[in-house]
């Protein structure tokens, strides 16, 4: 075998190795989703979505945990969005580059990697006990907001960094103040990136289970929450609850609920991708 042939062989080998590695994740996902679809698809109908939970598998619906998840999602978005975007803008535009800001930066990056159950414990202590909100939707949303704050802050900063400095220069040179420049130029130009970060963070929040269990979300709630101080359950907890039961009927219910949950996160990720593409086009 000549050297050229050897190199070509190595090239081919690595190519197939790469294809194999790429496929592992994909194949596993397909098997998983396939299994769930077989188990759960027949269970999904309008009644499954609008029914309250029941002791009988075939009569059970996901209305209360679905509404719990929606409540959590909306409240978390309302709480986390302004706080984290403001923090991101401050760190990127106002904070002087010194040791303190470097320390803050490292801390926020690290916070994004803290296990979610730790946030659950923090939420339990601060929101449930000290602020005595109880095991309410609000306490859950505040806890999840803490969890996703660092993610959105990091995304906001990246998006702001990507705004060309020439746009800032142009705004300042026309006599704009710092705030006018940020509000009229920097934020609109980075809104796609910020929105992408927010949506991805929220889709993570929708799937979170551990911190909410710690905060005191229930596995069984008879009614959907009607206010921020009501008790609640969320889809992942309902799924966990159903899947741990012996009857096949509940296993099927769990599969069906997983399909709904996946659908929600896929749609949210899709929206995020849409915004990102639109934003990239706009800046070029």
């Amino acid at each position: 075998m000549t050297n050229v042939q050897k190199n070509r062989l190595k090239d081919q080998l690595f190519k197939f190795w790469g294809i194999g590695c790429t496929l592992i994740g994909l194949v596993l996902l397909i098997i998983f989703i396939g299994g769930i679809l077989i188990d759960g698809l027949s269970r999904i109908d309008w009644a499954f979505i609008t029914d309250l939970p029941s002791r009988k598998a075939e009569k059970s619906g996901i209305w209360t945990p679905l509404m719990g998840s929606v409540w959590i999602l909306v409240l978390t978005a309302i709480i986390s969005f302004p706080i984290s975007v403001a923090a991101g803008v401050y760190l990127e535009e106002y904070a002087k580059k010194n040791r303190l800001s470097a320390l803050l930066e490292i801390n926020i990056s690290n916070l994004a990697g803290v296990p979610s159950i730790i946030y659950g414990l923090l939420g339990l202590e601060v929101f449930v006990r000290i602020m005595s909100l109880g095991a309410s939707v609000l306490a859950g949303a505040l806890t999840l907001s803490l969890l996703i704050l660092p993610i959105i802050i990091v995304a906001t900063r990246e998006a702001i960094k990507a705004v060309p400095s020439s746009i800032r220069d142009a705004s300042y040179a026309l006599g704009a103040s710092k705030w006018q420049t940020i509000w009229n130029q920097v934020l609109p130009a980075s809104s796609g990136g910020i929105l992408t970060g927010v949506i991805l963070a929220l889709s993570r929040a929708v799937g979170e289970t551990a911190p909410l269990i710690v905060v005191g979300a229930l596995a069984y709630v008879p009614f959907a929450p009607s206010g921020p101080l009501d008790q609640f359950s969320v889809l992942p907890i309902q799924i966990f609850n159903w899947i741990s039961r012996p009857q096949q009927g509940f296993i099927d219910n769990a599969a069906a609920a997983i399909i709904i949950l996946l659908l929600i996160t896929f749609v949210m990720n899709g929206i995020a991708v849409y915004f990102r593409n639109k934003w990239q086009k706009k800046l070029q």
């Binding site: 020439s166 705004s171 026309l174 006599g175 609109p188």
Partner: protein, 270 residues
């Protein structure tokens, strides 16, 4: 009554004469970036309604010097400035000076066209809107006037709501000029405004600069010696942060006093 009137007019006239003499004065200006001295003891006076070209090799400090006049260097970390810069007899580096006011008076056009990712109209209207002007008719009138002045109106009047990014490079640069003119400054700073453009767009902008001279005091940084010779009344040659020579353009290009200026002009270095 009559006496007072004449006195007043006389006063006005003399003040006018002083103000008219020099639009912009700098005295013993030094600029430091940390330990590096970018500008060394530069003093120059610039007359109103004149075009002054700053020439010199890359890194000679001409852009830094230009950016002093609207204080755009303030954003650079470790930037330090000594000396005096006066515009219309006001020291613009006094603490009390408002940057927003200064920049309304001293407009700037950058090297690369940098329109905002917004509509053509919004680009030109931006400088007015941030001043708090809300009168839509007034804004529309000023936008049109600025676009006419920048010789762009006929090309864009039917597409004012189109994104500014759809324009060609030359059109974008004229849009940036229009955007600056809409604020009605009295001084125009141009930092190599044609270096990213093709010859036809460049010619258009040069002609435009020539027309604008009637109403504005223009300072232009350029790498293109022919451009400096073509359009400017005065030329300043910078080298290593020093102002080597500053005189009428004709003199600089035909009979410079300093050997270094002559070497640079004739292409022996730089």
């Amino acid at each position: 009554m009559n006496v007072i009137m004449t006195e007043n007019t006389e006063n006005l006239n003399t003040e006018d004469k002083i103000a008219e003499k020099y639009k912009l004065q700098t005295k013993d200006v030094n600029v430091f970036y940390g330990d590096f001295q970018a500008i060394k003891e530069v003093s120059m006076n610039i007359k109103p309604n004149s075009i002054t070209a700053f020439i010199g090799p890359s890194g000679c400090g001409k852009s830094t010097f230009l950016r002093l006049f609207n204080r755009m260097n303030d954003y650079i970390e470790d930037f330090k400035m000594e000396g005096k810069i006066k515009i219309d007899d006001t020291n613009i580096y006094k603490n009390k000076i408002q940057l927003e006011q200064l920049r309304k008076q001293v407009g700037m056009v950058f090297q690369k066209p940098n329109p905002f990712p917004k509509s053509i109209f919004e680009n030109v209207a931006y400088g007015l809107k941030i001043q708090g002007i809300k009168d839509k008719k007034l804004i529309a009138a000023r936008v049109e006037k600025a676009l006419v002045q920048a010789d762009l109106w006929n090309e864009v009047k039917d597409n004012l709501n189109k994104s500014a990014l759809t324009l060609s490079g030359g059109q974008q640069q004229r849009l940036c000029i229009a955007r600056t003119l809409a604020v009605e400054p009295s001084i125009l700073l141009m930092d190599e405004p044609t270096s990213a453009l093709d010859p036809i767009s460049t010619a258009k902008i040069e002609e435009l600069i020539h027309q604008l001279k009637k109403e504005y005091t223009i300072i232009i940084v350029t790498h293109n010696m022919q451009q400096a010779a073509r359009i400017s009344d005065y030329t300043a040659f910078f080298y290593m942060g020093e102002l080597i020579e500053f005189d009428k353009t004709k003199k600089i290009f035909t009979n410079p006093d300093k050997k270094r200026t002559e070497n640079y002009i004739t292409g022996r270095f730089g």
